[in-house]
Subunit: 161 residues, 2 copies
DNA sequence: AGGCCTTTATTGAAGGTTCAAGAAGTGGCT
DNA sequence: AGCCACTTCTTGAACCTTCAATAAAGGCCT
């Protein structure tokens, strides 16, 4: 129980609060999207990411990297979204191993339909409650944590396969 | 696409960074615990919560509330942890509907064995990278978000069943 | 060309979570 | 006591994620 092993009181309190906030927030947004768009938050994020690319399309691997998920998870997700008609796969013209995930018109329409409600949920749960400075702070802190995990310096394993 | 419906540039950037950070962090900690303790992060959190109570025991409903999960999820989790011998159920003496979840000696030992590694992972990924002030800020922000979701003021539905 | 290692993407099984439904007990009311 | 609404906890099915294994193609080297 020495200082190397444990957290300070304040770190413990912060960690607990952080876990509570993220657990509740994830649940809340998953429920909101499941109710209004019949998909979990991550699937919505995939459609959203695709919608912001030039031709609403992206290579599978790049999409997985952007979304911070494994290729495997993405494969399953895209299979489901394809079943819904919101996305389709095309062969990559420059790499015959590759697949390009394309947002369909129906997928774009679904996004247009559900985006306002989702954004409102995010604002209500998060940004309406934070000051401009806290928003900036949360951005800074999030970038620090994400950067630290993206290329772990003492990288032991390829941690995202 | 008006101001009521969308986020500012900075809010969008913050939201994206936040989602990246939490997705990567969850994955990272789940992997760390799966590797070292053969359980997901949430299960570890349940054992940890129990270990901090007076007699290492808690009513199911209270445990679910502390962990911010549904009773159903807790039931499944406790069934698994009970199978591992880390937890056991006892009948509640004052309410015959109730169950008390008790951390066993084996469960406590498992926690003692794996806690240092887990805490180290949390420190490396989070607190070692943040200033003392950022830690305070993250705590404040997390508490605001968690409070907002715990008792939604314009409560539409019982959002945690 | 051939051989070998890497990269890309998918698959199926095992395990975790959600949702709706249900069994059982509590507490208040008449 | 009987009734009714609510609380507690569990269950099984559907869905999502993880993990290890696999197929197929690229790229480098000789």
């Amino acid at each position: 129980m020495n200082a190397m092993t444990w957290l300070t009181e304040e770190q413990q309190a912060t960690w607990r609060a952080f876990l509570h906030a993220t657990t509740l927030l994830e649940d809340h947004l998953d429920r909101q999207l499941q109710r209004d768009a019949h998909m979990p938050h991550m699937y919505y994020a995939l459609l959203s990411t695709l919608s912001e690319t030039p031709a609403r399309r992206m290579r599978m691997t790049e999409l997985a990297e952007q979304a911070k998920i494994t290729r495997s998870r993405l494969s399953h997700a895209v299979a489901r979204l394809e079943g819904n008609g919101w996305v389709r796969r095309e062969n990559c013209p420059t790499d015959r191993r590759g697949q390009v995930c394309v947002l369909t018109d129906a997928g774009y329409a679904e996004l247009e339909r559900t985006a306002p409600g989702h954004v409102a949920a995010v604002r209500t749960a998060v940004f309406d409650r934070l000051t401009a400075e806290q928003t900036r702070q949360l951005g800074d802190i999030s970038r620090i944590i994400a950067d630290g995990l993206h290329q772990p310096d003492g990288a032991d394993v390829p941690w995202l396969r």
